[in-house]
Amino acid sequence: MATLEIRDLHVTVEADNATKEILKGVDLTVKQGETHAIMGPNGSGKSTLAYSLAGHPKYTITGGSVTLDGEDVLEMSVDERARAGLFLAMQYPVEVPGVSVSNFLRTSATAVRGEAPKLRTWVKEVKEAMERLNMDPAFAERNVNEGFSGGEKKRHEILQLELLKPKVAILDETDSGLDVDALRVVSEGVNRVRETGEVGTLLITHYTRILRYIKPDHVHVFANGRIAESGGPELADKLEAEGYEAYTKGGASE
């Protein structure tokens, strides 16, 4: 069973010629089939955690460890992590001019699966996945994320999630910027992947809204660069009622 283990993770960024510690000792274990919601105020370091796991070059790991099934993730390059089974649906997906969605998806699936998918089944697979996400087939011929609306970018991220079938999926604010219909469509996409029981999900969000569609097994409150409290789904209800104030008091968060 695939397991992602994060132990005492410390991460800094360089900003304005100064080194700033953002993650201050994160501990978390995500097992295949589990869904963990990470909730926290703006600027608490949620995206930093997501990017650090995916290997973004801006973030420097200064301490701790991350392993996937015992393999040292921090030693791997960005593409190796993805091929090892990590997937990050980004809060702000990047536009890639000149590269069509269909070419991108196929190249990516070829890299992750280790061989080129058979063309006929592949075309069908993509078409059906796009249909389920209410994506116009014309998107396949557009350039990656170029001119996509916020909601279209998020659907495109979930399309990739469905096609790449990772062991651990990190979804960074996949709910932000979505209207109710889009939120439902995107959540259904995530749930289809979860229902296979083969993915561990780390659902990063600021709001409880998405948790009505995607039911977490565990909820963690993220504040000031670490997990401040962990609990079951009831913790989300408490946050819904009380907000993050209890965790940010005393200037803990910036």
Binding site: A54, G55, H56, P57, S77, V78, D79, R81, A82, R83, L88, M90, P93, V94, E95, V96, P97, G98, V99, S100, N103, F104, T107, S108, A111, V112, N143, V144, Q160, L164
Partner: protein, 394 residues
């Protein structure tokens, strides 16, 4: 739109906007066009037409100190049957008909060449194989002139292939008879030290079609002036360009389409990728729609893809319209970066770095390469692009 309009736009990767001078295309040049080098003052670098060019790397082509060495370039011409290939003296009447030198180096080339090449495709001759002109730099300095003339309704593809090392100033004239169709592919695949400056003039006959691909990969400094004018109505010109500018290279393409007669079309698409410190690409796209040129339809576009920090693009489209009675006129210039965020995004989907770069650059150039229609050239260009990319990642 009765009055003349001047619409300058431009961008550089440094973030500033390069704006063309407010004068017209003609008066922006520091001297009127002439075949005589003595009519041009030696440039000092601040002239509008020289301000982007590092004069100190022209190896004396601009100030009269570059002397032909006799072993400058070796030229081999391979032409299918029916084509007439000649070497002629300076006084041959066919030389210089397509256009007049517009700067000092072009005039220097015109004033200094000893023999010119003339290739003629007689009227109504339709070639099925390209004419290949192989220009190989032998390490010296050379001045040259080439004429390619198509008779009425003739059809031909000409490939001019530059490689090796040389300091070369060479002009080319393309003269298209009525209804003729000419496709020209000029490949600048020079060694690192080569310097190549030239003016390529096309005179497009009535109802004739001129299609040009200017492909620049190599050289220390390449500066070309592809220019088009029309000899009668109904002419069409498509000017495509592709450049891959590496560290330290200066590649400059200065185009002019002169819509001097009514009911002609032009379409200009130049695309460049840049990588490495001090890679510098310059693109000037002048389109002039003269008062007489009603019914003109023109569009020009320059796109640049900056792959690494340290590269610089100056892109200046400039459209001047002296008549409102036109079908269409448009222009666009965009310089985009292939940045670390794009690389991260693609790699985060399992794609290795070299493949990620390849994906982006191939996609960027593909639509242009596919239009060349000469299979071995298309394959070579794609292979060359890969090679450039591998070199950058290694």
């Amino acid at each position: 739109m009765a009055e003349a309009q001047n619409i300058p736009v431009g961008s550089t990767t440094a973030g500033q906007i390069a704006v063309a001078a407010e004068s017209t295309v003609a008066t922006r040049m520091s001297a009127p066009a002439s075949f005589d080098v003595a009519d041009f003052p030696v440039p000092h670098g601040r002239e509008e037409e020289w301000r982007f060019t590092p004069l100190d790397r022209l190896r004396g082509l601009h100030d009269g100190t570059a002397v032909a060495t006799g072993d400058g370039v070796k030229v081999d011409i391979d032409a299918p049957e029916g084509v007439v290939v000649e070497t002629v003296g300076r006084d041959d009447a066919r030389i210089g008909r397509a256009g007049t030198p517009v700067d000092r180096v072009a005039a220097q080339a015109y004033s200094a060449f000893e023999k010119a090449g003339v290739i003629t495709v007689p009227k109504e001759t339709v070639l099925t194989e390209p004419i290949r002109i192989v220009v190989h730099g032998e390490g010296g300095t050379a001045y040259a002139h080439q004429v390619v003339e198509l008779g009425a309704f003739a059809e031909a593809v000409v490939v001019i292939d530059h490689s090796g090392d040389a300091v070369l100033a060479a002009n080319v004239d393309y003269v298209l008879g009525d209804g003729a169709k000419l496709t020209v592919v000029s490949v600048q695949d020079w060694d690192d030290k080569a310097v190549h400056v030239g003016q390529h003039n096309a005179l497009v006959g009535r109802d004739a079609t001129f299609k040009s691909f200017v492909v620049t990969f190599g050289g220390d400094l390449v500066r070309l002036h592809p220019r088009v004018a029309y000899a009668g109505p109904g002419g069409e010109a498509e000017l495509f360009g592709l450049y891959f500018t590496d560290a330290g290279q200066h590649q400059e393409h200065r185009l002019l389409v002169d819509h001097n007669v009514p009911h002609c079309k032009s379409n200009v698409v130049y695309k460049g990728a840049l990588q490495g410190d001090d890679a510098h690409a310059v693109w000037i796209g002048d389109v002039l729609i003269e008062a007489a040129a009603e019914g003109t339809d023109t569009y020009e576009m320059n796109r640049n893809l900056v792959l690494t920090d340290g590269a610089r693009v100056d892109s200046v489209p400039n459209l001047e319209i002296e008549t409102g009675e036109i079908v269409g006129a448009g222009h666009a210039s965009a310089t985009g970066r292939f940045d670390d965020e794009q690389l991260f995004y693609l790699m985060a989907r399992g794609i290795p770095e070299i493949d990620a770069r390849r994906l982006v650059v191939r996609g960027f150039f593909a639509e242009l390469v596919q239009q060349i229609g000469v299979a071995d050239i298309e394959e070579r260009l794609l292979a060359k692009i890969e090679e450039e990319l591998e070199a950058s990642v290694a």
